[in-house]
């Protein structure tokens, strides 16, 4: 879609995998985060420790897992621990470098909604799956990467429900709430990359994919999106990365695997 030889979705996954280059440990949700983390491990970051909320630490799946409880995760892990342990001993103290989340809605301060669409919690327009592990992943991982397709419905001025806190109401919110991690440092979409402004905490477009213009992105953003003065154009994915990604996707039964944790129907 964005260029010859690869799709926007592939570009998004490759970009997300690249964002894990410096990470040692990653708390992974199913769907797009899992795909990107497994791509990183299969290419440039072979030592990446994958941690799934089912309690599998250091899983080395040879194919994409179908759920967070896929047997392949337990069978290839360094350790399998209970669910209370994975959250209390491993996530909560800030031992994990990167938390990788999806979103049904995300706002200008990187707050995430995976609970309900609509202003009234008791009579929602759409009932989403809910929180899962995300609130504490967003609070306690050293940093968070969000991977989500960009539309006006998804990128909203204010989320209908704060399931997981990004930067709350802006500067100082995380500190006031006692959230120990740095919060969302990259939001990777099918158009480019948004990063928080260090002063205002507002998400700003910092990189676009080849062939994507600024208006392409602002049209699909529900707030007045600011653009970094040094906006970069990212290089297209290299053939080797694409080949590995396609090989991983081919292991999924529905050959798509887009049902992200927290995604609506």
């Amino acid at each position: 879609m964005t260029g010859p030889g690869y799709s926007a979705g592939e570009m998004m996954t490759v970009t997300a995998a690249q964002a894990l280059r410096d990470a040692r440990t990653c708390f992974v949700g199913i769907g797009l985060p899992s795909e990107a983390a497994n791509l990183a491990r299969a290419t440039h970051t072979p030592g990446l420790v994958l941690i799934y909320e089912s309690g599998t630490i250091g899983a080395r799946p040879g194919r994409l897992p179908l759920s967070i409880g896929d047997g392949i995760l337990a069978q290839t892990a360094d350790a399998v621990v209970s669910v209370p342990e994975i959250f209390n001993y491993w996530l909560q103290p800030g031992r994990i470098d990167v938390g990788f989340l999806g979103a049904a809605q995300i706002d200008r301060f990187g707050n995430i909604n995976t609970t309900v669409i609509g202003a009234d919690y008791t009579e929602p327009k759409v009932r989403l799956p809910g929180a899962g592990g995300a609130p504490e992943i967003a609070a306690s991982c050293r940093e968070v990467i969000v991977i989500v397709r960009q539309t006006r419905r998804t990128f909203v001025e204010r989320v209908d429900f704060v399931t997981s806190v990004g930067f709350g109401d802006g500067p100082g919110s995380r500190e006031r709430l006692g959230l120990t991690g740095a919060g969302p440092q990259k939001v990777i979409t099918d158009l480019g990359v948004l990063e928080p402004d260090p002063q205002t905490c507002e998400l700003v477009l910092t990189a676009a994919y080849p062939g994507v213009s600024v208006p392409d992105v602002t049209e699909r953003t529900g707030w007045a999106l600011r653009v970094a003065p040094d906006l970069r154009e990212l290089p297209p994915p290299c053939p080797a990365e694409l080949a590995v990604l396609r090989g991983l996707r081919a292991t999924l039964p529905d050959a798509d695997g887009t049902a992200a944790q927290g995604a609506a129907s």
């Binding site: 209370p84 929180a131 609130p135 306690s140 399931t163 039964p253």
Partner: protein
């Protein structure tokens, strides 16, 4: 002391109308056969508790067993929405469903508190989220108090540092139901692979039912296995394949096609009704 009985007897003796029932299994070892038995016995007005109310609770909610759901993630893993769950919330079909909503860390800690005999657990979590709610039921320590965002979640100050943390009320189900790989003839239970929160859920409950793939003379040790001693378990029932479409590591494989097929089966009330008639009420489960 565990009694080894039929699945029908275990459910009849343990699960009653109006009970708070936890059926746990974190994508692995989900007690589906026991869920079907609860549906067959026509239980009503249950408060269903489960971290991940996936297909098993979609079936029980659609069959009209539940009055309330206490949970942290309700979806069909890797597939999408739970249509019976959504129909109950969005259209009160077949009956209205009250929600009490948490995070995974919150639910896990609520079970830990219940298993530990404490009124609450403490964690660094929930702060700044809508899950804390704005309701007046903060601090309610009794099981099932309140509903919606904020029920059974409260801020608490650390008595040593003053740091603001979050307290979550203990979960104390009337009955917890799990599936395990095997038990011995005394009723000692052994499970391995992804063991989730099952140990805590059983120890937090007043009564418990464990369905197993097989009953053996002796439990030889397994790496990483959880053993629940017979004296901590209520009923053990043989239910080979009882996790289907979930799986029991080293016994059965996850039926991924069923999870995908469930999307179409459950989308429509009539199709779902036919499925229940054929696969649950019709006798042979699944």
């Amino acid at each position: 002391m565990a009694e080894i009985v039929s699945l029908a007897d275990a459910i009849a003796r343990s699960v009653h109308d109006g009970d708070t029932v936890a059926m746990e299994g974190f994508t692995h070892l989900i007690p589906h056969a026991a869920g079907h038995e609860v549906i067959r016995q026509g239980r009503r007005e249950l408060t269903l508790v489960r971290m991940t109310p996936d297909v098993i609770y979609d079936q029980m909610i659609g069959a009209g067993c539940a009055r309330k759901l206490v949970f942290s993630w309700g979806g069909n893993p890797g597939v999408g929405s739970l249509h019976r769950f959504r129909d109950a919330i969005e259209h009160s079909w077949p009956v209205p469903l009250e929600l009490e909503e948490h995070s995974h860390a919150g639910m896990a800690n609520r079970y830990v508190a219940g298993a530990s005999g404490l009124p609450f657990a403490v964690l660094r979590g929930y702060r700044g989220t809508g899950l804390v709610g704005g309701q007046a039921n903060h601090g309610a320590a009794s099981n099932g108090a309140g509903a919606g965002p904020g029920a059974n979640i409260a801020e608490i100050a650390c008595p040593f540092t003053g740091e603001t943390l979050t307290a979550v009320a203990a979960l104390r189900p009337d009955v917890t139901v799990i599936h395990a790989q095997r038990a011995d003839r005394e009723g000692n239970v052994q499970l391995w692979g992804i063991t989730g929160v099952q140990k805590e859920a059983v120890l937090a409950a007043a009564r418990s039912v464990v369905t197993v793939e097989e009953i053996v003379d002796a439990l030889d040790p397994r790496p990483g296995a959880v053993v629940l001693p017979a004296w901590a378990v209520g009923y053990v029932a043989l239910a080979p394949g009882g996790a289907h479409p979930s799986y029991a590591l080293d016994y059965t494989a996850r039926d991924n096609d069923f999870y995908i097929a469930w999307d179409a089966i459950s989308r429509d009330r009539a199709t779902f009704g036919q499925w229940l008639d054929e696969h649950v009420y019709g006798g042979g489960a699944r």
